[in-house]
């Protein structure tokens, strides 16, 4: 219990909470906190170039470490610029605490300079938010905010702090133990439900594990438990975009990602399964395709930390609310106690191997040196060249994101950082900055589209300032490829505003920021260019020119069933009825 200024309390609380990094941008309403941070011995402040980037960098930091990301921005435009990243963190369940400055309490509600209703604006894009009116509340609220951001289903929490609350003095206190009045997420699964689930798995003839970001959020032990349970049961595994890395992609039980751009074998296996074990996944529309045709003959077990995710879209037969890791551990224990043995799933695997034989991720390409590079080839080459270096890969949003998900393979969690729920162009580069800050010695690569990259390209300055060795690998198709692909599928190739016109010369841009720029024009230059990128110690931007009109397959068109996958470009029709057009 010590008397200090509100700003000092904020910093003290961050220290007490073990925060080592804050991503932020100063302004009038947070100057007291910035002053308290000035030359702080343990908290490193990373000055971004736009507040949206601060939030994505915090997400990248959080996703690659499992620790909450922390953001500090000013009132008004600082706070509104942060909203996209806050929403992104909400949809992808990323733990994040955002401190926003606010006009003094005496001016709230008067349309004061740089005033906006931050708690009002962020009420529905945060897990929780606070407006702190009394400096004595700062200690307890900061500690509670970190608890809420990291417990149960993780998410973003905003703390709005008026400037006079930062200046005023009060007593700093730490709650002994966070024992929240109302927020008590259920982490331990119901034992009877676990027993029933184990029996269902043991009896299934065509089981499949469908795992998601919840397994990653539950920590590396949850991924280890998933591997163990899969080994015990012998069942195949597929995962959502957010769940990649929880299960090793080189394991023969791995079917690849499922959903709209998932593999044929994953989607067919989901469709034909007699038991789906969903773990930390939420039956997103990108995963289910047409709902009335979604896995019609299966029983479904759903393990999720968030009860509201269960039965939201797909009714399930057995609901298990709890932490994914604890639920998987409990299943393993019951499996052992009951002496269950893996069933002979030979028939099921024969069918799966039949679907695998379509080789749905193959793509047509020319092999000579002067040939244009297929984007899939570029991702494969990147994967091959970085094998054994345990890289962290972030992506922007679009075709390149899906190609990276399909062709880059992970064998551990927290290496794959992508914007799944919100699909935010502009996420990938700042997320790479955050991941690199957290892991200064790791190879961090942002696989980018030329359009997405421009949404936060100003962060090149941040990278230069902190001498981060971030690599940006642009799959430059000179199109908003994913938009163009949909226009081909749905609007008879009327390419309305999807051409990436007036692109900068990325190599010159690299030069302007003191980076290394590399341009790759054809297949013959690909391997060398990638190697040069890896071997260059500082930041590198690679402008990899790829086939402009390549499309991402396989694909389940929106509103179609898993069994109606488009495998090849020539399956495209070019029109759709209104019902399908209305889906996103």
């Amino acid at each position: 219990m010590t008397e200090m200024s509100g700003a000092d309390m904020v910093v003290q609380a961050l220290v007490d909470l073990g925060v080592d990094t804050v991503f932020g941008y100063p302004g009038g309403a947070v100057l007291p906190i910035y002053d308290a941070l000035f030359k702080h011995p343990t908290i490193k402040h990373i000055l971004v170039r736009h507040e949206q980037a601060a939030t994505h960098a915090a997400e990248g930091y959080a996703r690659s470490t499992g620790k909450p990301g922390v953001v500090l921005v000013t009132s008004g435009p600082g706070a509104t610029n942060a909203v996209t990243g806050i929403t992104d963190a909400l949809l992808d369940s990323i733990p994040m605490v955002v401190l926003t400055g606010q006009v003094p309490t005496t001016l709230i509600g008067t349309d004061a300079f740089q005033e906006c209703d931050t708690v009002g604006i962020t009420r529905h894009c945060t897990k929780h938010n606070y407006l702190v009116m009394d400096p004595d509340r700062l200690g307890p609220i900061l500690h509670e905010a970190f608890y809420i951001a990291t417990h149960g289903r993780p998410g973003p929490v905003v703390i709005d702090i008026p400037k006079n609350v930062q200046v005023a003095t009060g007593t700093y206190s730490i709650p002994n133990r966070i024992d929240h009045k109302s927020y008590r997420p259920q982490v331990d699964p119901d034992a009877a439900a676990i027993t029933q689930a184990a029996a269902m798995i043991a009896a299934a003839e065509r089981p499949i594990f469908y795992t998601g970001g919840g397994v990653i959020n539950a920590g590396p032990d949850a991924s280890a438990a998933l591997r163990q349970l899969v080994a015990l049961t012998g069942a195949p595994v597929t995962s959502t975009l957010m769940g990649l890395g929880a299960f090793p992609a080189d394991d023969d039980k791995w079917l690849g990602m499922l959903g709209m751009h998932g593999t044929y074998e994953s989607n067919m296996a989901m469709n034909r399964a007699d038991l789906i074990i969903a773990v930390g996944a939420r039956f997103d529309d990108r995963v289910t395709g047409r709902l009335d045709a979604f896995s019609p003959d299966s029983k479904k077990i759903h393990i999720d930390i968030d009860r509201s995710s269960i039965n939201k879209i797909v009714p399930v037969d057995l609901a298990i609310v709890g932490d994914a890791g604890r639920a998987l551990d409990a299943l393993i224990a019951v499996w052992g106690d009951k002496g269950y043995k893996a069933r002979d799933l030979g028939e099921w695997w024969r069918r799966i191997d039949g679907w695998r034989a379509t080789r749905c991720l193959d793509f047509p390409e020319k092999k000579e040196d002067g040939a244009e590079i297929m984007p899939q080839r570029a991702v494969k080459a990147l994967f091959d060249a970085t094998r054994g270096r345990d890289p962290i890969i972030t992506t922007e949003v679009g075709q390149h994101q899906m190609w990276a998900a399909q062709h880059f393979h992970f064998d551990s969690p927290n290496r794959w950082l992508t914007s799944g729920g919100l699909g935010t162009m502009g996420y990938g580069f700042p997320a790479a900055v955050g991941a690199q800050i957290a892991h200064p010695d790791r190879l961090v690569i942002c696989v980018a589209g030329e359009a997405s990259l421009q949404m936060n390209i100003q962060e090149m300055g941040t990278v230069s300032q902190y001498r981060l060795p971030v690599k940006i690998f642009i799959l430059n198709n000179q199109w908003m490829g994913m938009v163009r692909q949909w226009q081909e599928l749905t609007y008879e190739s009327r390419y309305s505003n999807s051409y990436s016109d007036s692109l900068p010369d990325f190599v010159k841009l690299a030069d302007a920021y003191g980076w290394t720029g590399i341009r790759i024009d054809n297949l013959g230059e690909l391997a060398d260019g990638i190697q040069r990128m890896i071997d260059t110690p500082g930041p590198v931007i690679v402008d990899c020119r790829v086939a402009q009109l390549a499309n991402c397959f396989p694909m389940i068109p929106s509103g179609a069933a898993h069994t109606d996958m488009i495998l090849q470009p020539n399956d495209i029709t070019g029109t759709m009825d209104d019902e399908a057009k209305a889906l996103v």
Binding site: R123, H124, I310, K312, P315, D578
Partner: protein, 171 residues
């Protein structure tokens, strides 16, 4: 293409929440953001130390939607409990309306007579008007107001439903 919506049944939810700034916006915002119906919503502080409020929400939807509404409310940080009063068996629902009727002669007499049948109280009168206070289920209040329309209804104020489960148990 037409957009269609599913019909559903009426449910009364009792929600206890921390009595903090913005909580009502949070709850109503959840309903509007997720496209749930609110037929009525009442809120008041219910604890001696003013720490808790009780919100009674009348909503409607198919069973799966009602289930979602409860789960979505329940995961909000300041929400302590959510109870579907229909689930717990019998419950009592009440609503108060203040109903102003203006008129003279037969209409005035008829209004007073019907108010008596409905056990509505006269809480204010002038030579040309009454204000009735009526308490009951929403149904009863609806019926009274419908009758008053014929007798010179000029204004209505309603509280919305409050409800509580029968028996000795608390929520």
């Amino acid at each position: 293409m037409k957009i269609h919506t599913e019909a559903g049944e009426r449910h009364v939810l009792a929600v206890t929440v921390d009595n903090e700034a913005g909580i009502l916006a949070k709850i109503t915002g959840l309903f509007s953001a997720r496209g749930y119906n609110i037929e009525s919503l009442t809120v008041a502080d219910i604890s001696a130390d003013h720490a808790l409020s009780r919100i009674t929400i009348v909503t409607s939807g198919p069973p799966a939607v009602i289930d979602q509404i409860i789960a979505q409310l329940d995961r909000l940080v300041p929400v302590h409990s959510v109870t579907d009063l229909a689930d717990g068996g019998a419950h009592v629902e009440r609503e108060i309306a203040l109903v102003k009727v203006a008129g003279t002669g037969d209409k005035r007499i008829e209004a007073l007579r019907m108010a008596d049948v409905f056990r509505a109280k006269v809480v204010d009168t002038t030579l040309t008007s009454f204000i009735f206070e009526i308490t009951g289920t929403s149904d009863k209040v609806d019926r009274f107001i419908a009758l008053m329309r014929e007798c010179g209804l000029v204004e209505v104020g309603r509280t919305g439903v409050v409800a509580i489960a029968r028996g000795s148990e608390a929520l």
